[in-house]
Homo-oligomer: 310 residues x 2
């Protein structure tokens, strides 16, 4: 299976991803064995409010990268993305160029609840596509909820897509999007207010102080491909910047760390929970009847867990 995966068999890749997504032991084993091949792909996150045109930007950026011969993975974790089948038929047809290209591997992920949050397995799937030989992996998420923070962690370069109307509310805008963008696009820039939105945004970004990377603010009209060439240039600039400052490495290590920590936490918690689960209803009952306080219930459980093991 791994042999065929490394030969570039797309069906095998899809199966590996499914195993990883469903958190099967085989998936973890394969991922482990591929780990030496992870690290080459540029991970590009795209986020922003619903309706900003994120999917069209992804589409256009990918088309351009393909012209340069790069192999691309797309992970769509936005429930309303055409890539996940959630959008209008027209959009899906427009994306057909990319969707039928053998050099592009598209995977849509079920998001948790309605939060549009990045699934826990998104980084693992990035790793699979990375090991599969993709030069870049684009991750599209809806810019709501916790995703903003998650995308920064998962991606090397984060593009925030806004629309001209965002200008009115940039001051009041969710600070989150302001803080996470490495590159900003005012998309649908043929609509009124685009220049103003861009300058308000630039001003706000100025206030952020002396970082060594100043996030550029671009105007794009993704449906016409306008501004995409510059966007791709800035994405490359950013990767170069990361490499020169050792940031690709530190981001990669941060991802490894959180992967390890998450797995350890799960293991510890599952083991502990199994051991006090059966006592829980009686503790709850005693707290409910105010025989013991919640804190006493916690103490009893924690002590019980300690005693049992010593």
């Amino acid at each position: 299976m791994i042999e065929n995966f490394l030969k570039g068999d797309r069906l095998v890749a899809a199966r590996v991803i499914s195993m990883v997504e469903n958190d099967l032991p085989e998936g973890r084993e394969i991922l482990d064995s591929l780990y030496g091949r992870v690290g080459g792909a540029h991970r590009i996150g795209i986020t922003g409010p619903p309706g900003a045109g994120k999917s069209t930007i992804v589409d256009q950026v990918v088309l351009r990268l393909r012209k340069d011969g790069l192999h691309i993975g797309i992970i769509a974790a936005d429930p309303s993305s055409p890539f996940t089948g959630g959008a209008f038929l027209g959009d899906r047809i427009r994306m057909a160029d990319v969707a039928t290209d053998d050099g592009v591997f598209i995977r849509s992920l079920a998001t948790r609840g309605n939060s549009g949050g990045l699934p826990r397995t998104a980084e693992d799937i990035c790793d699979v596509l990375d090991a599969f030989g993709k030069d870049a992996v684009v991750i599209e998420t809806a810019g709501v909820g916790q995703t903003e923070f998650e995308i920064v962690h998962a991606a090397d370069t984060t593009i925030v897509v806004l629309v001209p109307e965002s200008g009115d509310s940039i001051q009041a805008m969710k600070a989150g999007l302001m803080e996470i963008g490495d590159i900003f696009c005012i998309n649908k820039a043929d609509r009124e207010g685009a220049d103003r939105a861009a300058s308000v945004l630039r001003e706000s970004l100025e206030l952020k102080g002396e970082a060594s990377w100043k996030p550029p603010v671009l105007l794009t009209i993704a449906t016409e491909g306008a501004g995409i060439a510059e966007l791709v240039d800035r994405v490359r600039d950013h990767r170069k910047y990361l490499a020169e400052h050792g940031l690709l490495e530190s981001k990669r290590k941060a991802r490894i760390e959180s992967k390890i920590v998450t797995a350890v936490r799960e293991r510890i918690w599952n083991r502990a929970y199994q051991r006090f689960e059966q006592d829980l209803p009686s503790k709850v009952e005693r707290v409910y009847l105010t025989r013991i306080t919640p804190t006493e219930a916690v103490e009893e459980i924690v002590e019980g867990l300690g005693a049992e093991r010593s």
Copy 2:
């Protein structure tokens, strides 16, 4: 301090809440000692999309409950709520009746990030207001992200506020809001499409099958107080229904259980993390250099934690 709290000293109550919110040991102690007095307040959650008029509904509902002599707590966890100072001055002035009433205790909570998520301490603060003698505690949250699930857990009765325009998208609407509402309000019902939105919503709710409580769908114009009397009646009906079916008790127990489980998890995790934290960078480095796989790193840590204690 507890004496003055029980005498109804608002300043002391505010201080207790701050201690609880900041997770100070004193806060936990006081909460423990008050636990016998928790359980009387009806917890009413209000959620819905931004701009639906949630705060005005809260305001109107609270005014009406006050006329019946009830004492009310308000917890505003919506960053754009006038109660949290996030809204336009006009709204805040409109709310002034409620805000200056001694029988109403308003607390706004800092929400996590931009998710509008319900802070972990919201339930504890409900407990404080409950013990403080409030007859009802109204919790206002933005209907985005994970909040929807959190509000159901925190509240006995959940009101979902929509607008007539929601009618167009109810089918496509975030299933979350459909599932969590015990009562639905189509607010701003003087706008076009209110009746249609209500009937689409009623149909969708029919499909949910035979629950013993059929969520009513009401039309309200909160700025004029229209429909509020009926809303308050339905809130009372729902509480009666919960009491008759033992659901107030089971909801309360579920809250106690998750409070205990969360605290145990934190305790276990903090202790474990402290013990492997210093080894973590070297594990990460070895995974980075592909000397070991991520799974091997996890195994080493988990085994280390086990060995150390036996």
